[in-house]
Symmetry: C2
Subunit: 167 residues, 2 copies
Amino acid sequence: MSAPDTFREFLRSRDLPVTEQRMRVATLLFSTHKHVSVEEILERLQADRVEIGKATVYRTLDLLVDSGLVREHDFGEGFKRYEYLAGPADHEHLICESCNKLIEFTSVEIEDLKRELARAHNFQPRFHRVEVYGLCEDCGVGAVEQGSPADRLPKAAFSRGGGRRQT
Amino acid sequence: MSAPDTFREFLRSRDLPVTEQRMRVATLLFSTHKHVSVEEILERLQADRVEIGKATVYRTLDLLVDSGLVREHDFGEGFKRYEYLAGPADHEHLICESCNKLIEFTSVEIEDLKRELARAHNFQPRFHRVEVYGLCEDCGVGAVEQGSPADRLPKAAFSRGGGRRQT
DNA sequence: GTGGCTGCAAATTCTTTGCACTATG
DNA sequence: CATAGTGCAAAGAATTTGCAGCCAC
């Protein structure tokens, strides 16, 4: 079943109306695997001449997260980002604390772990979030040897988290 | 080395003064493995007659997170919680979407995974966060058979995230 | 037709910032 | 003693809420 259909079915299962705005936010997310912010969703939809308000975007995102089709993330920017999850065994994130680059990876271990948890704690997993923070290959200590050191950050053992709130 | 000492060393490595307030916030966190909010930190310190302002708590928490001794969490309450991390291979969280219970677990798989990532992506992990959302044994579908069903939530296939903001 | 949704703007809440004063090294 | 930290209160920002009109069912 396609993602929009799954969302429609979710809404029906809750006796909630399938509205134009809800489907617009949903299909926008389903059409990309990027991590989009509320502001970006609003801009893109309004660029497409869709009449929609910020409150509706927030309200729809709550529903999408509840449906399990979308995952919420806080990458420390001061606002949340949302991303479409194609399946339960989707990707995870590596976040570089120096340049804020995002690397995605998949891991079978995580699914094994969830099975194991279900058994050991009698827990029914619905979705998860795995985030690893550290230094990417361009910013790590090994990087200096193969590039010009000057264009990089100090890469101290304790590097400042970078990019926290744009003010 | 004790946690307070590690924090002192961290401050010195950055040429930052070791102040009374900073050490108070730090030792409060080090003395418990609970997930505390800024408000709670403030209340507990002020109950102990410590003169400290909210801004200083926020500023100190940033330092503690940077030092790697403390981890920040967003459990969807509308504010952040902070927790002391005794070692790099610390615990992870299961979060029940129905009753908001928090279950902690440890996993060797996670450490294996981090090693594997370091190799595959040339990434230097510093800390991580693993959160699994779902239904705990008291709220899951199997629970009905062994307890009085009336005191529990509807446990629909799609349960509402519960406890999002207290307003 | 009706109950729930929508958009707008105001309200709320967490977090950050500016500044005069104080304390650390 | 100089530099950086602190507390307070005000500012800043993301998210939520109230309500009149509108739309899915």
